[in-house]
């Protein structure tokens, strides 16, 4: 019954209903977007290398910061983890494919369409979106360039893609687990993705609501966010961040799942505290809904509200800490080896925790009067999103690439890539904490002389980090084309789970008959 992929290139890739091919599509798309978003970052850091405007105008700088954020969040990080989900979830639960394979195809293919529209706005009259990836009204409504309508269209499509993908994941996991795979036997990556999928289904429509209200205000004379008509610009912030805060947990939870797969493998020891990890993830997801206004501490909220959001935000440290302690305890008394996926995962634990510390500091509303909208915040979220989610995604690629393509990546090159990325990342973002504390706000195209030194250091690190990504790309392509063939199903000595019982490389169709669980 099992057969290979379609003969024609077009029908294989354009009409794919295979979770592996669709996963591959998502991963390549996300990497292309990662490089594009990285290019925008290079423009930003090149301009900020020295004080003064040397390369671009402030209007274009604002477009770069906006597009960098949008492309990275919606085009790189989210699709990358969806790609990992597509590849791995069916194999991890013993299912032949996703529950809704045709919708899976649609979910992917609308993304390049949406991003083509979004990126093309940079070339349109008036320039692309220039109001930050958080697009506060009225800068994004009354004062927006004409291309804002394309931006809204793009956001709607991306949102639809995420919602459909999440429905698919939930349906797959609920209905298609192999007999004997109870919920509490599922790999943690599957758990984190299921919880993430529920978050997505809950909040993506809220984002759609926010951009639709924007559309109405801009084009149809409504006043949702316009005080003159009885509306309120702060309403936008509430609606956006009600989406925005769960969004960052949507970004990080699958990353937690990846690390929870990799660390046990290279410790040769089972994950410590499996049930705690599941409950902690669920707690984090629940808490993520009730803390959104910590992004709005300076907007003039009544003190009761501000105190509540401060306390609720501080609480998130508890389940997150539980997860960190569980990872460390997994390593404890294991037999550790430090292949590239493990290096990235350990770096994740350390640097994400560091980002968590700055997050704790940000949650203290009184101190936040000094941190809010400064480079301190930029440093914080890059620690958790780059050293967090991106490192985890990179680890996942190194970890699962052999299973996907049947070839081993070059370990030395991988380690070199890791060290360059790790060092460059810290050179880029550690000084940004100091910049923020010293008083440099974010989204600044230029700055006073007292901020010059750290900006220069940060820019140097950024270029180094960009180089590391090219090395990563090279390693991946080299592996797929010319890597040393490997056919051991287990690939890694300590690997456990259904996906490691399959042949390497994984055939086009797997688990057409459900496996028997021991």
């Amino acid at each position: 019954m099992a057969h290979g992929p379609s003969e024609s290139f077009f029908s294989r890739w354009l009409f794919s209903t295979n979770h592996k091919d669709i996963g591959t599509l998502y991963l390549w798309f996300s990497f292309a977007m990662f490089l594009l978003g990285g290019a925008f970052a290079m423009v930003i850091r090149a301009e900020l290398f020295q004080p003064g405007m040397q390369l671009i105008e402030p209007e274009f700088f604002n477009q770069m910061t906006t597009m960098h954020g949008l492309v990275m969040v919606f085009g790189a990080i989210m699709p990358a983890f969806v790609g990992l989900a597509n590849w791995m979830i069916p194999m991890m639960i013993g299912a032949p494919d996703m529950a809704l394979p045709r919708m899976n195809n649609l979910s992917f293919w609308i993304l390049p369409f949406a991003f083509a529209i979004l990126v093309s706005t940079l070339f349109m009259e008036g320039g692309g979106p220039n109001f930050g990836w958080t697009f506060y009204a009225p800068l994004s409504t009354t004062y927006a360039p004409d291309t804002v309508n394309y931006f809204i269209f793009g956001v709607h499509i991306m949102g639809a893609s995420s919602i459909m993908g999440s429905i698919n994941i939930i349906a797959t996991v609920i209905n298609m687990r192999a007999p004997g795979m109870t919920y509490m036997k599922m790999p943690l990556f599957v758990w984190t993705w299921v919880i993430t999928a529920f978050l997505l289904v809950a909040v993506m429509p809220v984002l759609a609501g926010a951009v639709t209200m924007m559309l109405m205000d801009i084009n149809f004379g409504t006043s949702f966010f316009d005080a003159a008509g009885g509306g309120d610009p702060v309403l936008f912030q509430h609606v956006f961040w009600f989406f925005g805060h769960p969004e960052v947990y949507i970004i990080i939870l699958p990353a937690f799942g990846v690390v929870s797969q990799i660390i046990p493998t290279f410790s040769r020891k089972p994950l410590f505290g499996y049930s705690s990890m599941v409950y902690a993830t669920a707690s984090i997801a629940f808490l993520s809904f009730i803390v959104w206004a910590h992004h709005m501490f300076t907007v003039g909220m009544p003190i009761a509200g501000e105190l509540y959001f401060m306390y609720a935000t501080m609480l998130i440290a508890v389940p997150t800490g539980v997860k960190v302690f569980n990872w460390v305890t997994t390593m404890y008394k294991g037999a550790l080896t430090f292949e590239t996926p493990m290096l990235f995962s350990i770096a994740f634990v350390i640097l994400f925790t560091f980002g968590g510390f700055t997050g704790m500091m940000l949650s203290i509303a009184a101190a936040d009067t000094q941190y809010h909208d400064t480079y301190f915040v930029v440093a914080h979220f890059h620690y958790v999103m780059v050293a967090g989610a991106v490192f985890s995604g990179t680890a996942a690629v190194y970890y699962w690439l052999p299973k996907w393509c049947g070839r081993m990546y070059d370990e030395t090159m991988g380690k070199v890539q890791f060290w360059i990325a790790f060092i460059a990342f810290n050179i880029t973002f550690m000084p940004q904490h100091f910049l923020g504390l010293a008083g440099m706000p974010r989204r600044y195209s230029d700055y006073g002389l007292q901020f010059a030194d750290w900006n220069m250091v940060s820019s140097i690190g950024a270029f180094m980090y960009g180089g590391a990504q090219l090395l990563f790309l090279f390693n991946v392509i080299r592996t797929i084309g010319w890597g040393k063939p490997i056919d051991d199903p287990k690939v890694w000595e300590g690997a456990e789970g259904l996906e490691w019982t399959l042949p390497t490389p994984a055939p086009f169709h797997t688990f057409s008959t459900p496996p028997v669980l021991k």
């Binding site: 004080p51 501000e306 037999a335 009184a366 195209s445």
Partner: protein
């Protein structure tokens, strides 16, 4: 391989640890200041600094403990050392412990965090009220009840920004007119936005409140330390976001009173001389300086504009058309565009001078004269 790995670890981490320790021991005040939040000059800024430091210490202790343990594990439990991995994978006691203990630490943190926030919100019984309005891309300060109102814009010339002239010491930290407040008086700031959301931040006061159009937010400061304190706009507000700094000058009470009296006198004198006839040279000189600060940001240094974005003023139909219409543009602004109404922002003298300057520069040779009284008449007799 194990020896290499160990050497690699120690080789890379020890310099980092060394730098941190040495830096901490050797760092003088100046170095520390360039790395850390300022203590500031108000009760609120001190409270913010204190809770910031408490958090840093707590996080450092936890971090050293967790990461130190991790490094130990990575060293002691490596496979290359020949260890056999254990098989344990759960322990309820330990899970409960590391849930409860962090929760307790949070409760400990919450107490100073709450008292600090109560201080931030204590805007009752101010001595002075100042309305702060964020514009694209400058600030307006109004002393409520005193009749003193002025704009405060970036003073750094475009030439310095674009590298055509060397950058001054106060690059991007200098304004046309600073906000002046006295020592030892509680000053309340009522902050709003004129167009988009801005945010008024003075780090040394730990005051940061968003300037939202249509509503007001409040903050306060009281200090006994005279000096000059620089702040920034901290909410993306368009292309000039990085170019609208805040400068607050804190004067001793007696000096402040003198300043306030002089400001009020200025307004009176201004009113009485508004009918004065200005010479061409006076108007051109004044107009040039007003243009550089209030117009050149968009219309560019020589009136060339940015095609498709900001109209050129050279040979423009308005600048070469009837004076009445030209005045109207500055007074009324252009609805739906970035051209604001400057009626509230520039004095009659400034408006007259800058219109005169534009009509007689860069090849525009209108030859007409615009006097301040013309502007006043326009505003009053429309």
């Amino acid at each position: 391989m194990s020896e290499r790995a160990r050497a690699l670890f120690l080789g890379l981490f020890s310099p980092i640890i060394f730098c941190l320790v040495a830096g901490g021991a050797v760092a003088d005040e100046a170095t520390w200041n360039s790395l850390n939040m300022p203590k500031g000059v108000t009760e609120v800024s001190q409270a913010a600094y204190d809770i910031h430091m408490i958090m840093i210490w707590i996080c450092t202790v936890i971090g050293v403990a967790v990461f130190g343990f991790m490094f130990y594990v990575m060293f002691a439990h490596r496979k290359s050392k020949g260890v056999t991995p254990a098989n344990f994978h759960e322990n309820l006691t330990v899970e409960i412990l590391w849930t409860i203990v962090p929760a307790l630490i949070l409760i400990v943190m919450a107490v100073p965090a709450t008292t600090a926030l109560l201080k931030v919100y204590d805007t009752e019984n101010p001595d002075i009220d100042i309305k702060v309005t964020g514009y694209q891309w400058k600030w307006q300060y109004e002393y409520i009840g005193e009749g003193v109102k002025f704009m405060s814009e970036l003073r750094t010339p475009q030439d310095e920004i674009y590298g055509r002239a060397p950058k001054g010491e106060h690059y991007l930290r200098e304004v046309t007119e600073p906000l002046v407040i006295p020592t030892n008086k509680k000053v309340r700031f009522l902050i709003t936005g004129n167009d988009v959301i801005h945010s008024w931040w003075v780090p040394d006061f730990a005051v940061k409140r968003d300037a939202v159009p249509g509503l007001f937010t409040a903050a306060w400061a009281k200090t006994d330390q005279p000096g000059i304190y620089v702040g920034e706009c901290t909410e993306l507000c368009g292309k000039g976001h990085a170019f609208m700094p805040i400068v607050v000058e804190v004067k001793e009470e007696a000096e402040y009173d003198k300043w306030m009296a002089a400001k009020k006198e200025e307004a009176v004198i201004y009113q009485s001389t508004i009918g004065k006839e200005w010479t061409n040279a006076e108007l051109m000189a004044k107009g040039e300086s007003v243009y550089a600060i209030s117009c050149a940001g968009c219309h560019q240094a020589k009136g060339e504009g940015i095609p498709g974005v900001f109209p050129a003023l050279f040979d423009s139909p308005i600048v070469t058309g009837p004076v009445e219409d030209h005045i109207g543009i500055l007074i009324n602004g252009v609805a739906g565009s970035a051209m604001q109404s400057f009626a509230d922002q520039l004095s009659e003298v400034d408006i007259a001078a800058v219109i005169h300057y534009k009509r007689n520069s860069w090849g525009n040779e209108m030859g007409d004269t615009v006097q301040p009284i013309d502007i006043l008449n326009y505003k009053q007799t429309q």
